[in-house]
Amino acid sequence: MSTGILEFLTVFILAGFVGIEVISAVPSILHTPLMSGSNAIHGIVLVGTILIMGDAHGAVQITLCFLAVLLATLNIVGGFVVTDRMLEMFKPKPAERPAKASDTSNDDAAGGAK
């Protein structure tokens, strides 16, 4: 085994501890956004798919890579957008509210939320 793998293992183990550490005190109201946000973060697999596409030769490899880039883009773009939409609603609200909220459709309400 080369020293390379040991370095990567070191990074792996330390990152694991960091992962546990940073979310150990998350309140339950944020479980959904946290799940969605971490989902977006692993979308960085897109970097890997772009790199491997550069080395791909022949129809089979290139097709598989094309699919991989497509899937990874869905993951990363969709993940961050959905999380942002969710968190937009957690923005601090003004103390005084309008007496009657118009009961508009979901999208409008989300877009118009302060």
Binding site: A15, H31, D103
Partner: protein, 466 residues
């Protein structure tokens, strides 16, 4: 500094961005900025990846990469923008699944590229791990999506010889994986990938109902680990760090969630909840013949209007009916009359832990009116009316009183301690967990059947007239 070193430095910065993003996501104040920071870090990392000469070496490959990214973004942005907040869990499931699929494909292609020579055993092991975990996450997420989207039954699916089939698939995967390790054969790897897809399906099928969100969290963690494995295969620290962060935090989050349901993770994954449930339901027997008390919106309107303290306990029924805005209207109206009103939120109300908070935040319900279970329960004994809107299992006293019940031990909101209990329900059908709720038959309880939004609107009108 060489170009490669420079790109590695950019990757390191992106990794720090991800750590800060995750940290931000664990507090309401910094969550949104955290997420934006994560997105920025990802964008920079992806952008600089194109600086590698190898990525730009073949024009065809480069063009295809860009085309795939454009198509992906063109699908993902509208989908993510339009999805209803109630459909959030399945959206997260599908975005997670495709990430797992991408990680598995990376591992497969790396193996194909190296195919003529036999790579070192630990190299093959990395590939195998990425393929196996990525495929399980992909097909498992697809089934979880189908369950939540109601493309198939949301209940646990059981079939004859389930354990035997699981064991056969498990043994087959292990044998194929060992075969691949020893021979470095491509067909064996492909067979392992296909069987892993099957494993994902049969792993998820028996998990149903309220357990699906916990499962999604676990699959999220799996995808993280598959991405980390791709990082090992590609010698890429950014993928290792990001994947491991998600893998580790996902497993912790999964444990926190199962704890909120009063069960162990193993119990969530392997108990086939539903089958146990039907058994206990049958043993009870008497359920069918008991009578319930139904009320008119007017009666209940008067009850609410002249109460001192009303607690609204929302559940998934409120979410599907999109009734969060109407619920708020009712609460505002009662508060104008001087009634003390707050919402009691069970940690697993909705279809995802924390889901109900997202929905009520969408309806502009201020933070202070939302009380978490531990905060709400001491107040229940002095509450005049507990208004249960589309919830069932989260107020089922069987969790406290019936040791044989499948939900025994799950913390609940003590609606049974209130002076009056009003259930707004679509029908007498049991909740997500599929068990009878004795509270429905209690003398203190009044039921109002119908879609949560309709019945709440009727109550608003009734309170106005009262």
């Amino acid at each position: 500094m060489t170009l490669n070193t420079f790109i590695d430095l950019v990757y390191l910065l992106a990794a720090i961005g991800f750590i800060l993003a995750l940290k931000g996501l664990s507090s309401p104040k910094h969550a949104r900025n955290g997420n934006l920071l994560g997105a920025a870090a990802a964008a920079v990392a992806v952008g600089f990846t194109f600086a590698y000469p190898s990525v730009r070496a073949h024009t065809l490959n480069l063009v295809l990469t860009l085309v795939a990214m454009v198509i992906g973004a063109a699908i993902a942005v509208p989908a993510a923008r339009k999805v209803k907040m109630t459909a959030m869990p399945q959206m997260v499931a599908i975005f997670n699944g495709v990430g797992g699929g991408a990680a598995a494909l990376i591992s497969v292609v790396v193996f194909l590229i190296q195919a003529p020579g036999k790579p070192a055993v630990y190299r093959i092991a990395e590939v195998l791990f990425g393929v196996l975990v990525g495929c399980v996450s992909f097909s498992g997420s697809a089934i979880a999506f189908a369950k939540l989207q109601e493309l198939m039954t949301g209940r646990p699916v059981t079939y004859p010889a389930q354990q035997v089939i699981n064991a056969v698939v498990g043994v087959a995967i292990v044998s194929l994986a060992i075969g691949t390790l020893v021979t470095g054969s491509v067909p064996l790897l492909v067979a392992t990938a296909l069987l892993s897809l099957v494993l994902g399906v049969i792993f998820v099928l028996p998990i149903g109902g309220a357990d699906v969100p916990v499962l999604i969290s676990l699959l999220n963690s799996f995808t993280g680990l598959a991405v980390a494995a791709s990082g090992f295969t590609l010698n890429n620290n950014l993928l290792i760090i990001a994947g491991t962060l998600v893998g580790a935090s996902g497993i912790l989050l999964t444990r926190i969630m199962s704890k909120a349901m009063g069960r162990s993770l193993a119990n969530v994954l392997f108990s086939a909840f539903g089958s146990v449930v039907t058994a206990t339901g049958g043993a009870d027997g008497a359920g069918e013949t008991r009578t319930v008390k139904t009320g008119t919106p007017e009666d209940i309107g008067v009850l609410l209007a002249y109460a001192r303290k009303v607690v609204i306990i929302p559940g998934y029924g409120l979410a599907v009916a999109q009734a969060q805005h109407t619920a708020r209207e009712l609460a505002d109206l009662l508060m104008e009359r001087g009634v003390e009103v707050f919402y009691a939120i069970h940690p697993v109300a909705g279809r995802m832990p924390g889901h109900m908070n997202v929905l009520l935040a969408e309806a502009n319900v201020p933070y202070e009116e939302l009380k978490e279970m531990d905060e709400a329960n001491p107040e229940m004994a002095t509450t005049d009316v507990a208004l249960v809107v589309g919830a069932n299992d989260t107020v089922n006293p069987a969790a406290k009183n019936t040791p044989g019940s499948p939900i025994y031990g799950m913390p609940i909101i003590n609606a049974d301690e209130a002076e009056h209990i009003v259930f707004l329900k679509r029908s007498m059908r049991p909740g997500f967990a599929g068990i009878d709720n004795d509270l429905l038959f209690d003398d203190k309880t009044t039921l109002l059947f119908g879609d949560a939004k309709d019945t709440l609107a009727k109550l608003v009108a009734a309170v106005r007239d009262a």
